[in-house]
Amino acid sequence: MNWGSPAEFFAMGGYGLYVWGAYAVCLAAMLVEPWLTRRHRRDALSAASLVGDDS
């Protein structure tokens, strides 16, 4: 085990800002992209259902 306490873990031996700054943006991006992509697919599906109506 590398860390004696949660505080030690978050401090990352003085590199907390850099480690968490990198990880936070990475996590945010990898949550937002799938969400946007699923929305893209859902919008494409609803647009396709409208095409059927007026034909």
Binding site: M1, N2, W3, F9, M12, G13, G14, Y15, Y18, V19, G21, A22, Y23, V25, C26, A29, M30, E33, P34, T37, R38, H40, R41, D43, A44, L45, S46, A47, A48, S49, V51, G52
Partner: protein, 248 residues
């Protein structure tokens, strides 16, 4: 029964169904491998003798950088296949890869910057590795801008394929930049010809995270390709049937 051939999943309708079957497993893999990789990376792998705990950025930096390059080659490959063989799904796949490739390129630069500040003393330096990776980001963004600016999708696919193929020369330049030029960036940590220059547990964490990023990239690209297929084929029976069923 029709025999399964390589071209079976080239039909957008079959591709769509295949993705629905595969994606839950890809997401499960992505989450499971991430948890395992981060556990080993933060709780098992020891602190680095020279870089302290700042080195732990490697567990996302290297996978993101690898994917940024591999996805570009995959994008150029599918764009070329779509162009030469007139394969619809291949061209859609190329377009679907671009945003995810751009995202991983951005993340490689971002995490590298947050690693460079404590180790080199600077967020950014115009050296060969960093500059060629930045050019990769511009190639992705240029590809996205180009294909989306051309209304005729077939012409857009062709123009995109030309750009993607020409830009592919940048990928080996990125990869070998640390060998060819004198740069701040460290050399490759692992290679096929030499023993890895890192502790076993660090290596395991990095490889688990790489596999996790792979699973993530496949899942997101497949979902985006589904969306593109729905948009392009909205006048076909399979899309209409699907839309009617889903929207009820």
């Amino acid at each position: 029964m029709n025999a399964l051939r390589w071209s079976t999943f080239a039909a957008p309708s079959r591709f769509y169904a295949l993705v629905n079957a595969v994606n839950p497993w890809l997401w499960l893999l992505a989450v499971g491998l991430t948890l395992a990789g981060l556990y080993i990376g933060f709780f098992v792998a020891p602190v680095d003798a020279t870089q302290g705990n700042s080195y732990r950025i490697i567990f996302i930096h290297v996978p993101a950088a690898w994917l940024s390059m591999v996805l570009y080659l995959a994008m150029a490959f599918w764009a070329a296949i779509g162009w030469m063989l007139n394969a619809r799904m291949a061209s859609m796949l190329a377009r679907a890869i671009a945003p995810t490739g751009a995202l991983f390129t951005f993340l490689a630069l971002w995490t590298g910057s947050f690693w460079g500040k404590p180790t080199w003393g600077t967020w950014w330096v115009w050296d060969a590795r960093l500059t060629s990776e930045l050019i990769l980001l511009f190639l992705y963004l240029g590809y996205i801008a180009l294909v989306s600016s051309i209304d005729d999708v077939v012409r857009g696919d062709k123009a995109g394929a030309v750009l993607a193929l020409v830009g592919a020369v940048n990928v080996p330049i990125i990869y070998f930049s640390v060998v060819w030029w004198n740069t701040l960036h460290q050399g490759a940590t692992i290679s096929v010809t030499a023993a890895p220059k890192m502790a076993q547990t660090m290596l395991v964490a990095m490889l688990l995270m790489t596999l996790a990023f792979w699973a993530y990239a496949f899942a997101v690209v497949f979902t985006r390709a589904q969306a593109l297929a729905l948009e392009r084929e909205r006048d076909t029976d399979w899309v209409r049937g699907l839309a009617r069923k889903e929207m009820k």
